[in-house]
Symmetry: C2
Subunit: 201 residues, 2 copies
């Protein structure tokens, strides 16, 4: 836009909003207008919330979760079973598993997967932290909950290797048909895995 | 989520982000994680930009545009033809027309359309402001660029009525086939209008 149609502060807001995942240049403009119209209910509080999050956010030095306390709320939760560690690639995976609410365990965030093509090697992942947590001797089981991709599986094998010297049970997520999934839409790999791992009715 | 898995400041950020148009509860969580990970490049600057926009944003008392100055950048732009006023429903329409860049005119934002069912009457729209701008005598043409909906057309008729006492040309946007549009996908009303308003090849 060569001609100025609104203030530089609003243009700046639109530019930054366009970088938020889920918003593009066009929806950023719509979002900015909505924010400005709901100045007191949304723009002000959201700006303040961002400032507070900016000041207080920490990465848990134990498990890698994002929180405003270090160690995080999960690592300091005494009602959890800290003898079981669920290993995930990213904080978003940790949050997804917590939403499922199936386990009351501790976590470990790797911060990615091994990917030589992208230049991600073992030292770029937080595997050492996992090994030293296991070395303390109180962990009974490590559940490897990485994505079912080639990189994820490579990472899973590497972790299994690193933990081979310890007396700890290493498990991984089951493969199978997603709940609510239709067979016709599933790939052959998933169907084969679901057949191999069939259970008694 | 009954169990706390992250800090209250981050939960608050997710809650507020979910209210931004274009983001839902799930994408708000993803956006918040991205913001927190890009703390210095995105979270900090965006929070600051929101604070600045909150402090400085104004609604132009002349045309209703949103800007950080009052009167706005368009109303004070001397290179524009202030003898032509384009009447729009919303600031987003003003911005859309400016992106098209077809006219170098002034604007007037109504702030909605007449909609008796939703309780929006003539006094809820900024029609009086338009009438007094026209009454000053320097306006030659009013282009009514409201949406082609029933409410938009009702509003257009109401405005025409209010301006009937003044010597001013009142025009409206042409109906027709959208550029790049396929006839097969267009409704009968649009096709009829396009046929009626056919032009020489």
């Amino acid at each position: 836009m060569a001609k100025r149609i609104t203030g530089p502060e609003i243009e700046k807001l639109i530019q930054l909003l366009a970088k938020v995942p889920g918003l593009g240049p066009r929806s950023a403009r719509r979002a900015a207008l909505h924010l400005v119209k709901k100045k007191d209910q949304l723009l002000g509080p959201l700006g303040k919330a961002m400032g507070e999050a900016y000041d207080k956010v920490r990465i848990c030095s134990c498990c890698g979760n994002i929180d405003t306390a270090d160690p995080c709320a999960i690592c300091t939760d005494e009602r959890r079973d800290h003898g079981v560690i669920i290993v995930v690639e990213d904080v978003s995976d940790l949050w997804a598993l917590e939403r499922a609410g199936a386990m009351n365990a501790a976590y470990h965030v790797l911060g990615g997967t091994l990917s030589p093509l992208d230049g991600v090697g073992p030292d770029d992942l937080n595997v050492k932290g996992l090994v030293s947590r296991v070395a303390e001797g109180r962990v009974r089981e490590v559940i490897i909950a990485v994505n079912a991709t080639v990189e994820g599986q490579t990472t899973a094998h590497y972790i299994t290797d690193q933990l081979s010297g310890f007396e700890v049970k290493i498990t991984r997520l089951a493969h199978g048909v997603p709940v609510g999934g239709e067979l016709d839409y599933l790939d052959e790999g998933t169907l084969s895995a679901a057949l191999r791992a069939r259970t008694a009715f």
